[in-house]
Symmetry: C2
Subunit: 251 residues, 2 copies
DNA sequence: GACGGATATATGTCCGTACATATGATGTCG
DNA sequence: CGACATCATATGTACGGACATATATCCGTC
């Protein structure tokens, strides 16, 4: 064994295999020798070899298929960074009691450019909501003066239009209502953040100066099979909102 | 066993334990019966019980400590969403050949508010870089007309000031240079995005109209022990940049 | 009462064996 | 030559036993 003798036997085996993979003795894509052969070579039980392989599988260096063998997947442990969310609600970075007050809800037939953006054929029916998100009553945050958190436009696939067919106040996110009501589950969300200026019309609704800066956050919610379930466009006045996230190293 | 008999034995055991945990028979924080007791109860070997427990540990439902026991950590598998990055470079969302052209590099002694923001005592030495990030030569992206990608100010802990002591052009991110040169590794990055307007001075440097919108992205890079290694403030002109990310459901 | 050592206990590691099962290769038959 | 059954093979599952090691507790000593 190349290692010191104090560590667990299976960790020594794992380390040796990892070294061999790193040095190219077992190229990516190739099959490792069988567990039986490795056990014999290292003079340990097959159980111990399996434990070592299991360790490396946890690091995504190896994968195994019954009846085939153990394949080398990666050269070295990829040091990836990740940002986790407890739930999709965390994408919204304001208090969870914020209300979405819908002022208009219209079924529209999308055309051309808009259809392309929604990833569907022209002529399909979508429900378009327009409204303001604001904090209820006195629970205004410390950040902004008062005024709505954002101006939100939502496009909902016609199949799920029932969740918001008439203008009203929503206390839960639209996607969450669709998930519950129709049993679809959101598997992926694409979020897009850009800077823009508010128009006069928007400024009046948001109670800010025309021409002041804003974050335009577009979110696309995808269900199974990468089908777009709903799309929301949130215009956040500059001083009233910021988007914060933390990424951590894996392991 | 509550399950059908076709699945693996250890999966049946795991399922039974999961049910018991979900129904509160084993409350969060409590210790499970010992592996030996469970093996006896289910009429299986201890090895099989361990495999079942290992399965639930992978789901973060259980944790184990040698000499103590197996503790219930969670009620049910948490469906978390995550956003992964291949490397921290992915936080920058422009071509990796972008250059950071530093126009000034000054060692400063931080005071009051700035010291607080950097999380250090007033009077500490930090290196302040100011410069523009731009694409080299002809490789201009399709998005913006030409002009710099962003105006970037970087604060570097005095200990690592050597990486950029004099103004010059950097082709690698500052944090990456610090990682290599000083052997520290960035374990966490905090990122903060807000909308703002560019001042006249900034507009001239970025070659945009004064008063146009911009994304201000502040990134704090932390090393081991949550110590701030460097902080960068990037001002991206509105039309020239957007921040995109995708989050996926776990499992 | 404080400190330290012996001890019981639970998980961790390791061995050997046996059989199950998915997979790809081989070979046979129409 | 193609479809299909057969077989060898590699990982997956399961058993039983044994010892290692970390931890908490008990107990005696100072």
């Amino acid at each position: 064994m190349t290692n010191n003798g104090s560590a667990s036997l299976y960790l020594q085996v794992a380390r040796t295999l990892q070294d061999r993979i790193a040095t190219g003795a077992h190229p990516i894509g190739s099959l490792l020798p069988t567990e039986h052969m490795l056990a014999e070579e290292f003079g340990v039980s097959r159980q111990t070899v399996r434990q070592a392989i299991g360790h490396l599988r946890g690091m995504k260096l190896l994968s195994a298929r019954k009846g085939v063998g153990t394949r080398v997947e990666a050269n070295r442990p990829q040091t990836s960074y990740y940002h986790t969310l407890q739930s999709l609600q965390d994408l919204f970075q304001f208090a969870s009691d914020a209300q979405y007050r819908v002022t208009s809800a219209d079924m529209v037939s999308v055309t051309g450019k808009e259809a392309e953006e929604l990833g569907c054929r022209p002529g399909r029916q979508w429900l378009r909501l327009v409204g303001l998100r604001e904090l209820p009553g006195e629970s205004r945050g410390p950040l902004g003066a008062d005024g709505p958190l954002c101006l939100t436009t939502v496009m909902i696939d016609g199949r799920y239009a029932d969740v918001a067919a008439t203008p009203r106040v929503h206390t839960r996110a639209i996607f969450a209502q669709i998930e519950d009501r129709f049993g679809v589950s959101i598997t992926e969300v694409h979020q897009d953040i850009e800077a823009t200026l508010v128009t006069e019309e928007q400024a009046a609704l948001l109670r800010v100066e025309p021409g002041s800066p804003a974050l335009l956050i577009t979110r696309r919610y995808f269900g199974s099979g990468r089908t777009l379930v709903d799309l929301s466009r949130n215009l956040h006045p500059g001083g009233r909102f910021r988007y914060a996230m933390t990424v951590r190293r894996e392991g």
